[in-house]
């Protein structure tokens, strides 16, 4: 918007270049190069926060280059108020992941760092892609690195977890591809997300497409019946993997709902709202309830993620301004908070080599700094006012209240349960009597670990106390989404294959994309 | 391969030489075949034919039944059953004498071995028969062969010791007896 400088491409290329450099470097230099690459990416991304125009209704920092002629697929990038915080969160979390893996990863560190960097490219790509195929490419491109991340550097049961994660996610996303292709033919032979968002589709088609989207995104979120891969993956992944998984990957599902399901398939979204809300509430309560029963710290946090992501989907599908804004905010919050929690677990795991609550009791005395930070993140997670999650959950509940009081009441139950399991966890982990067996290993945080956690703590309080910059930046985009959902219903388009499709296929390549009515 | 060798190969030179040889034999046809039943070859002097038992000129059998021929025979052709001459305990004779001519290979060792020259090799050779049992000859047959092949018989000397085996064996290389 402000300039023609390809910010987003730079954002994408930097980690990739870093990955190549890491691969070519030595084992010892790898983590430094990775750190530099992620930090550089962060440095590139930070100016966007200020360069972003909160008032503008359309995409910013767009790039638009032809990629494939037939069918017309473009290398098309852009940011709006929804994706900006997510991108920033992504590039912000990545250096922390690198730091968290500084000593934890001992085997083939180069590969690990390279995989992390590739992941970063893919994740940023998902949030900035404006072409559906490009989006899909980034979306799927994450699978292999994540698979390797869990499978190679994970815990003892990593093989099972990795393949489970992989197959779940892939199975969900393949139907997305069909849906994309169907949309292409019904939506005027374009893959442009914005143009497709303007299109109108027959109701029955919308239903099917919604279900296909749902399969992809709900698995990723994960929503209630599809969540079973998550605890396994979280538990078995290395710390950085868990952080990425929880902070960023889960957001992609909700981002997908927000970016595609709602604007493109408004009728179906409305029709499916009761189902989605029900599933969300089930997820909130079920996740929380499951978390209560866990003895493994990571598993507990994983189930808490299920519960918290239930809030996000709930906010999305109540389909009002407050709900959506709360959902977006909660996406960021959950990324920060849960990321912090996972980092904490990683730190303690490095010391005691156990994730069981029973093995890690009474850390307050030997590790006061650690205990403090853990408590902060836990409180943030349970939505204490003044922390970030409070803002998001509050907005979501407000939105829900406008839609249904019963749902609000049930969702609030989730918050109460969250308080229960998190406080119970804190009670045991922080304020117990440490076992003498572990005591000598429990040294307090070193500087690297502090550097990992402090930025997140800062964010926790910043968003919790002053969320306005964030909310203001996303406001316009959310409004757009709401608006596009309530757009006029146009008569269903005729079946695309009625005319000579080859000609149109070939001809489509020569037409400029802007002619098809994007808001650009 | 030299040029001439090559030429020879491609013209089948060697083969043609061979064919010329065979052809020359046909052209200069000189058969070496003898039409045997019709014309018979002349036998060499030392031809060794059918075996026979001999007699002295007075008709007595020379054979004293000593069994030396049986012992000498490599093919075990001969079987001798010797017995004393009745009434003369010091004299023996062959009571039975068999030769299985299907096995005989006409080596002549039996003739050599005989101390009294009772065996002889005739010049008979056309002995094909339809039944090979006919070639199992007994004493009478052998004597008959001897009779017809050796019309001139050796004279029996009066003073000749009835059992001269000892002398004849000891002085094997005596000069040939006349007749």
């Amino acid at each position: 918007m402000t300039s023609s400088f390809p910010w987003l491409s730079l954002l994408l290329v930097l980690p990739l270049a870093g990955a190549v450099a890491v691969y070519l470097a030595t084992e010892s230099a790898a983590r430094w190069i990775a750190l530099i690459a992620t930090l550089a990416d962060l440095l590139v991304a930070l100016p966007l926060w200020w360069l972003f125009d909160p008032q503008a209704a359309q995409m910013q920092f767009t790039e638009h280059v032809a990629w494939i002629t037939v069918p017309p697929i473009y290398y098309s990038l852009g940011l709006d108020g929804i994706s900006l915080p997510l991108v920033l969160m992504t590039v912000g979390i990545m250096p922390l992941c690198v730091l968290a893996s500084w000593n934890a990863i001992t085997t083939s560190r180069r590969g690990f760092m390279a995989v992390l960097l590739i992941m970063e490219t893919a994740m940023v790509g998902v949030f900035v892609a404006l072409d559906f195929v490009l989006f899909y490419v980034f979306w799927e491109a994450m699978l292999i690195p994540m698979y390797l991340l869990i499978g190679v550097w994970g815990g003892p049961n990593r093989l099972y977890a990795a393949i489970k994660f992989f197959l779940y996610t892939l199975a969900g996303s393949v139907l997305l591809l069909v849906a994309i292709l169907v949309l292409y033919f019904y939506g005027g032979h374009t893959f442009d997300i914005l143009a497709l968002s303007q299109g109108t589709y027959p109701a029955s088609l919308q239903t099917w497409l919604f279900l296909a989207f749902f399969a992809a995104f709900a698995v990723k979120v994960p929503m209630f019946p599809f969540h079973t891969w998550l605890p396994d993956a979280h538990v078995e992944a290395p710390t950085a993997g868990s952080v990425i998984l929880a902070s960023i990957l889960l957001k992609m599902g909700t981002y997908g709902f927000l970016r595609f399901s709602l604007p493109m398939l408004p009728d179906a979204s409305r029709a499916f709202t009761p189902m989605m809300v029900t599933l969300s509430i089930i997820a909130i309560i079920y996740g929380a309830y499951m978390a209560l029963a866990q003895v493994d710290l990571k598993k507990l946090i994983a189930y808490s993620s299920v519960s918290h992501m239930g809030f996000v989907t709930l906010g999305l599908f109540v389909l009002n301004q407050q709900g959506l804004e709360g959902a977006v905010l909660q996406m960021v919050n959950h990324g920060i908070t849960t990321g912090g929690l996972f980092l904490c677990v990683g730190i303690i795991y490095e010391r005691t080599h156990s994730r069981l609550i029973a093995d890690n009791v009474g850390l307050a005395a030997p590790m006061p700094q650690y205990a403090t930070l853990l408590v902060i993140f836990a409180l943030s997670s349970l939505g204490l006012p003044g922390t970030n999650s409070f803002v998001g959950e509050f907005l979501v509940l407000v939105g829900t209240f406008l839609w249904s009081k019963v749902a609000t009441a049930l969702a609030s139950l989730g918050i109460i349960l969250a308080a229960t399991y998190l406080l119970w966890m804190i009670q045991r982990v922080v304020f117990g009597v440490p076992s003498p067996h572990h005591l000598p290993k429990l040294s307090d945080l070193n500087q690297r670990e502090l550097a990992t956690l402090i930025p997140l703590v800062v964010l926790v309080f910043w968003i919790g106390l002053y969320p306005n910059p964030l909310v203001s930046r996303m406001h316009q985009s959310v409004t757009n989404t709401i608006a596009s959902m309530s757009r006029e219903k146009v008569a269903p388009t005729a079946h695309p294959s009625a005319g000579g499709t080859t000609e149109s296929l070939l001809a489509g390549s020569r037409e400029p994309l802007t002619a098809q009515g994007s808001s650009r | 391969m030299t040029f001439t060798a090559w030429i020879k190969t491609i013209t089948f030179y060697e083969i043609l030489i061979g064919m010329k040889a065979t052809m020359s034999h046909m052209v200069h046809y000189r058969p070496v075949t003898e039409q045997y039943p019709h014309e018979k070859r002349t036998l060499p002097d030392n031809y060794r034919g059918m075996l026979a038992l001999l007699r002295y000129d007075d008709g007595t059998e020379k054979c004293v039944g000593c069994d030396l021929c049986e012992a000498a025979c490599p093919s075990r052709v001969i079987r001798v059953v010797s017995a004393e001459v009745p009434g003369e305990p010091t004299k023996r004779y062959s009571k039975e004498y068999y030769m299985d001519m299907t096995r005989c290979l006409f080596c002549g060792l039996c003739v050599d071995a005989c101390p009294v020259d009772a065996l002889g090799m005739t010049r008979e050779f056309e002995w094909s028969v339809y039944d090979k049992r006919q070639l199992h000859l007994n004493k009478e047959q052998l004597l008959a062969i001897g009779d017809r092949s050796f019309p001139v018989r050796e004279k029996q000397l009066e003073l000749q010791h009835p059992n001269v085996a000892f002398f004849n064996v000891a002085f094997k290389h005596l000069p040939q007896k006349p007749g």
Binding site: - | I15, M19, T22, H25, Y29, R30, P31, V32, T33, Q35
Partner: protein, 363 residues
């Protein structure tokens, strides 16, 4: 219908006549071979039966006919019986396309026949090759059915040998076929009329003496391969006495043995006829026209033609015997190597050269 039956009758008569000629030739050959071999080896050959043994074939025939017919234990009876018949029949039917005499027609009982060839079909050469190629079956089957290792080995050798050398026979003929431009033996022979320099062995053009299209290499290949294909010495590996007793007919006796033997001689005769017809001008005299024509006896010219044909065939038959008297048997690997590495390339080269010369000097 009457015409058809008449035609059938005449054809049968022709077949009968031709078969008797062949059988007589075969009978003669058995005697002739022994006699010639004897002469070449300074022997007399058969002398006992009849004057100079002339009745020997008859005696042999009678003997074989009355001999006990033995089927070995474990033999496959049906195949054992079938094999000699198959061999015999195959060797006989090949003569159907051989022109013994000039291409004249004769009208009898209102139908036109060619008296000197049973069937002048337009694929005569292919027919001969086809017939020759199935000659191997009798040998293979006979060898297999006897349930004897010697027979089986002989049969296998025969199969390999026949296949290997038949290829050369076929390829050697192709030069001639190119020159003649037809597959009919009658037409091929007619194309060689007018003097020995027109014979395809010389391949002179009709307008000149220069033997530009000479097929002499093909001729040599053909003769050698024919010797091999008929399992004659020096290529008689299938019935090598010293190794395999008697090869594929070790277990045969009596009439079946006779069938095998006569088939062998009939095959020799057949290849001799083919060689005569294809390379040596068939019934044509080595000079233009015939003497009978010069002296005004045109209607008797066919006699001279037939005599010439017979002379050529008998020359080849004599050649077979002559070679037998001269050469020792080859070893098996020599046989195969000779066939594939010597004969085949020569035959192929001959085809190429002939086609080139034909391209530049068309007939």
């Amino acid at each position: 219908m009457t015409e058809l039956s008449l035609r059938l009758a005449v054809t049968f008569a022709q077949i009968l006549a031709e078969m008797s000629i062949v059988m007589i030739t075969v009978a003669t050959m058995t005697y002739f071979e022994r006699k010639v071999l004897g002469w070449m080896q300074d022997r007399m050959g058969p002398m006992e039966v009849g004057p100079y043994g002339l009745l020997q074939p008859v005696a042999d025939g009678i003997k074989l006919f009355f001999k006990e017919d033995i089927v070995p234990a474990g033999a496959n009876k049906a195949m054992f019986a079938l094999a000699p018949m198959l061999t015999m029949v195959v060797s006989m039917i090949g003569f159907a396309v051989i022109p013994f005499g000039p291409n004249m027609t004769l009208d009898i009982f209102g139908i036109t026949i060619k008296p000197f060839v049973v069937a002048d079909i337009n694929i005569g050469v292919l027919y001969i090759l086809a017939i020759a190629s199935i000659g191997a079956y009798g040998i293979i089957l006979g060898g297999w059915a006897s349930n004897s290792k010697y027979s089986l080995l002989g049969g296998l050798r025969a199969a390999a040998q026949v296949i290997s050398y038949e290829l050369n026979v076929g390829l050697a003929l192709i030069g001639v076929l190119m020159l003649a431009g037809t597959l009919s033996l009658v037409q091929i022979t007619e194309a060689q009329a007018g003097g020995f320099w027109h014979w395809f062995i010389w391949g002179g053009r009709p307008d000149g003496f220069f033997p530009i299209h000479t097929q002499i290499f093909a001729f040599v290949v053909f003769i050698i391969s024919a010797v091999a294909e008929t399992n004659r010495i020096p290529f008689d590996l299938p019935e090598a006495e010293s190794e395999l007793v008697a090869g594929f007919f070790t277990e045969y006796s009596g009439m079946r043995f006779a069938f095998f033997v006569s088939a062998e001689y009939a095959n020799m005769t057949l290849v001799s006829c083919v060689a005569a017809a294809l390379f040596l001008g068939g019934w044509n005299a080595p000079y233009p026209g015939t003497i009978f024509e010069y002296i005004g006896l045109e209607q008797l010219a066919w006699v001279e033609h037939i005599v010439w044909f017979a002379a050529k065939v008998y020359f080849f038959l004599f050649l077979f015997i002559w070679i037998r008297a001269t050469l020792p048997r080859l070893r098996y690997d020599q046989l195969m190597r000779f066939g594939w590495k010597v004969m085949l390339p020569i035959a192929l080269a001959n085809i190429i050269i002939t086609s080139i010369t034909l391209y530049f000097f068309p007939r």
